[in-house]
Amino acid sequence: MANHDINLTVRKGTVHALCGENGAGKSTLMKILYGMQKPDEGTITVDGTQVSFATPGDAIERGIGMVHQHFMLADNLTVLENVVLGGEKLHGIGAKARKKILEISDAYGLGVRPDALVEDLGVADRQRVEILKVLYRGAKILILDEPTAVLVPQEVDALFANLRELKAEGLTVIFISHKLGEVLSVADDITVIRRGTTVGTADPSSTTPRQLAELMVGSELPSPETRESTVTEVPMLKVENLRLTATDPDGVVREVLAGIDFTIHKGEVLGIAGVEGNGQTELIDALMGLRDPDGGVITLDTDDISHASTRKRREDGIGYIPEDRHRQGLLLESPLWENRILGHVTERPNSRRGVLDLKAARQDTERIVREYDVRTPGIEVTAASLSGGNQQKLIVGREMSHAPKLLIAAHPTRGVDVGAQAQIWDRIREARHEGLAVLLISADLDELIGLSDTLRVMFRGRLVADADPATITPEELGSAMTGAATGHLEHPEDGDAR
């Protein structure tokens, strides 16, 4: 049972936030509301009439629209084409449709240009196209699944302005998020889900993020550790003048990484901030040996690994938490214990002299499940049957089990609930204490600032700015991420004093 005894009442013309741990059943609930899954019992009432949805089409007919976390747009089509795609019967595909799009865009301040190619749009613009797509189909109730996960703070503010606009026009928004601060700032009502059931509601005007988090997790949160620096003088990873070029489909050679220089010492967490697509993925690929750099030197401990194979790097002590766990971190249709072997097949306890040691691997998987709080009925189930947060905990457990010297963590807590998030952070802190060097790449600025000892900002394949996590604010970091500020970032007050 993924959901039971769910009671949710959303008032018309409000923003209603839905929070809960990963695997708590938010997605299932949303799927039911959007007609992608049928409930076993219970009723859904829209505007006083009881309804039942067999397909998303039924939900759209009733005025319920969904903006998915992963955008569903065709890159090589224009905004107009994307919006009318599948809704050709509504207003045709020509002038009438364009007029309607502009009308909606103006009414809610979305600022959408119908003739722009989607591939030329940034993340925030794409999201607005998604919202417009739903409104175009006549939605009166919008479901937004983790809409802020991919946005920088300034964009989040813009999105919230849009949401308020929608609300003012009498539309209803259901907003799913992990980021409690955001929930409190935009929502009119909050419902918390835990273990598949609604456990309570909160009034955003009188609730603190901490209280909300505790409601979600169901217990008191561990208090954040006192921050003491564990940074040593011993360099663990040294990257000098790293350069990587890529040939795009038109045959043009572009520089995707240029002049990357940094050193991570033992016990240090180096955080890299940046809007996605500015070279972070390429940097990880070059460090992991998935792409061969065109220039520069990568030194791990004292060895030059610039052109070493991925397996060699892993054996040498690089742990890797990939940004896309489904693509790079897991074999979804394989059991958990095989996933525990993945990436460490040449190491103990997984194998001995070329032959797998299944018994030891299984035992160690059970240990990881216990120690890292992976919620699963057993280790024979496939990775696909775990919730995202639990999959991530398994990956973190696996990578930490081989005493890495360097951990490359890309969005280590993306899509992970607050409880698991705190756990993963604790693990990284613990390991850092014992001399682990960490390269942290994240879109969650609070995570970056909270975990890093040093911060760098990546923009268009270069490290353009650095900052001290002790003094920087998310907003300042956000503006450097858009390329507006470079060099050493400091507080305006500090700047004045200088």
């Binding site: 709080d373 992976v374 049957s385």
Partner: protein, 372 residues
């Protein structure tokens, strides 16, 4: 946990069972539509199995199919579709027969040499497709199909009397000359008139065991399976994808080369124009039906061999033996459809079950909970 295992077994069997039932049902429909008695052909075919000589024929044929299907399965396990098994098999059989007939060595060495040549030729022919894929990104599906055609032409050319072929007196056939008796693989006699089981059939069984061990118990096998399950995840885990593609193509080709050995070493002792063709394609059907598992492939090899051999008698009873061919075709289609359906159902079902068990508090006790 036991429950999950039982489920998996049932689901694993459900795919082939559903496929076979559907295939038989559809064949029956075809028989009905064509105005043929829908029961009688099956009865005749089953009756055949009671004869020892037919049993021997089926087992021998199954051994050949088993090797061909293993070759295909090795590719399938890492998402490579080696359609070229047939070409690799024919070219390898021809060249190894040629080498075997031109040299005389003491017993086991002679056989080993022929096997070695067959494996090398098969690996070489498949390796061309492997290299094209790793260096130029050519789909192995396209290149292996073309290599089949080239192999056909090459064999036809090499076997001309002016090249290496021999034309036996009073015959239109062309052969590569007879291999000396030291190069014959002894068989297991099943009694007077029943024929003998090729000795190489046992080699095929041993290869099945080796296949299972390498795939499920070695690092190499894990890397291969990981690559098949998710190439991106395998690469991030440290697998060199290009090397993997080339290696598995070479192994697949080498096994394909061995598929000609039961016939060559156990029966014909020469490669001739009427050497069985199409074995590699049947191997694809069998690997699909057997879900690339060594046991599953064994059963499906037996099944297809049964259809092949027992249908031969249909002609004598006034039925078309092509009924078996139609059935094989229908099996392929229903296998593909039913496996995908069962796979999706299984994944969904497990997700649901995990959700239910967790909600019911069935999770493994974790440290966090123990502490609380």
């Amino acid at each position: 946990m036991r429950k999950f295992d039982k489920d998996r077994l049932i689901l694993g069997l459900a795919g082939p069972v559903v496929a076979l039932v559907v295939a038989i049902a559809l064949t029956t429909v075809v028989l009905l539509v064509s105005g043929t008695n829908p029961i009688e052909p099956y009865r005749i075919m089953f009756e055949q199995v009671s004869y020892t000589d037919v049993q021997v024929l089926i087992v021998n044929q199954a051994g050949i199919y088993y090797l061909a299907a293993l070759a295909v399965a090795i590719g399938f396990r890492m998402n490579l579709f080696n359609i070229g098994v047939d070409g690799q098999y024919r070219l390898a059989a021809m060249l190894s027969a040629l080498v075997g007939a031109s040299i005389e060595l003491p017993g086991p060495l002679h056989i080993l040499l022929i096997m070695l040549v067959a494996m090398l030729v098969g690996a070489f022919w498949a390796g061309i497709a492997g290299i094209l894929k790793t260096t130029r990104g050519v789909s192995e599906v396209v290149s292996t199909i073309m290599l089949n055609a080239i192999a056909t032409a090459l064999v036809a050319y090499l076997i001309l009397p002016k090249n290496f072929g021999v034309q036996p007196e009073g015959s239109n056939n062309l052969t590569t000359g007879e291999i000396a008796e030291s190069g014959w693989f002894p068989g297991l006699s099943m009694g007077e008139g029943a024929g003998e089981i090729y000795g190489f059939t046992f080699v095929a069984v041993a290869l099945g065991v080796l296949y299972w061990f390498v795939l499920n118990r070695t690092r190499f096998g894990f890397d291969l399976r990981a690559t098949g399950a998710s190439e991106s995840a395998a690469q991030a885990s440290g697998v060199d994808a290009k090397k993997m593609i080339l290696t598995s193509m070479l192994i697949s080709g080498a096994v394909a080369g061995l598929a000609g050995m039961p016939t060559l070493l156990g029966e014909t002792h020469t490669y001739s124009l009427d050497f069985p063709a199409g074995v590699g394609f049947t191997g694809i059907t069998i690997a699909l039906l057997g879900r690339n598992s060594p046991i599953g492939i064994a059963f499906s090899a037996l099944l297809i061999a049964f259809l092949d051999k027992s249908s031969a008698s249909l002609d004598q009873h006034g039925y078309e033996k092509e009924i078996a061919t139609i059935m094989q075709g229908l099996i392929v289609i229903s296998v593909v459809v039913s496996y995908e359906l069962v796979r999706r159902y299984g994944l969904r079902r497990q997700q649901q079950k995990v959700g239910e068990e967790l909600a019911a508090g069935g999770a493994i006790k974790t440290d966090k909970e123990v502490a609380a």
